[in-house]
Symmetry: C2
Subunit: 184 residues, 2 copies
Amino acid sequence: MGTYSIPLKEKNSSEFELSDWELEVIDLFLNAANSVGLPKSFGQIYGLLFCRDQALTMDQIIKLLAISKGSVSQGLRALRQLGAVSSLYGRGDRKEQFVAEIRLRKLVGGFLKKQADPHMENGMFRLENIREILGKEKDEDSLERGQRREKILSSWHRQLSRLLPLVKIIVGQGENLTQNNKPE
Amino acid sequence: MGTYSIPLKEKNSSEFELSDWELEVIDLFLNAANSVGLPKSFGQIYGLLFCRDQALTMDQIIKLLAISKGSVSQGLRALRQLGAVSSLYGRGDRKEQFVAEIRLRKLVGGFLKKQADPHMENGMFRLENIREILGKEKDEDSLERGQRREKILSSWHRQLSRLLPLVKIIVGQGENLTQNNKPE
DNA sequence: TGTTTTGTTCAAAAAAACTTGAACAAACCT
DNA sequence: AGGTTTGTTCAAGTTTTTTTGAACAAAACA
């Protein structure tokens, strides 16, 4: 026993456990994810990466957060698609490694693109569909009422369509002092 | 039998059944509610009221949508709190009656106020909490890293705080042609 | 006051969303 | 090629959210 001595001082313990403030930040993101309609695990994963300067591998994430391989795999994929996480390859070792995107503009942009835009597009189809169905309405009054409603919905759709791009522009003014992270 | 004759022509069948376009609109709102993290029944209720020129009573809603009393009661309460529905009292009969708010500005405003604002406030507490926990961090490196992260989160919080009011302003420019509904 | 009508509440049932882990595929050595 | 290591998939299990309906409260009437 005692074949290997423990290094006098771990580079730091962060390889193996979370500090108190990290736990708190991770929990913050867990909640945030929830509020935005994403699974809690997504928030945890993002939160962990957000805390770290070093990129992490999948199994580091699994160990640190103590959640399943499946969740982490799915979470990382989704976060990557949202542009909230990116993967560096290699990095000395051979496994894939992950870092968090910390530019708010990118985060919000990615989120809107993946979540809001599809809904807007879907809304278009639905509106067309409604117009089509209205074409078959026999009852005069109902038809007229339906047409009034269709106008309102179209107007809403237009307004929201204009809003989204503006949000992306507005967020990310005043950013910049935020340089950091990313060993890359 | 035959004690009362049926009125020659119902004012229209809308008292008793939904037209095709209405079904479609209701389904649209069902989906929208879902996308925004609200129960489907809320969307259905709002959607139905949105379709109608006349205010509806609770049991009309129950019958038309074929959902339970409990759901409708809860749904109406929540929608009222969001400012998406308002209730007129009396109206000849004695039951409470409901109409949908159709001004997008109001809808978005109410939603943000009830959903987003509390989260922002909550975020503040959490940030304070994190600062407090950071105060106890012993490890130099971890502390420094934590402070960097706290700065980022604070900056995000500021940016988002500025965004919300702007959204309320932006939505609801170009509205106005949308007069209609509301017998009141 | 007693009766009916209208609306709320909340525990239990149902549905939906999330997580897990084991089986599988893919890439990487040797 | 054979043996590892790393990453994905998805059916089954778990947790969370939503819906239901029956019991209850409140208001309206007679």
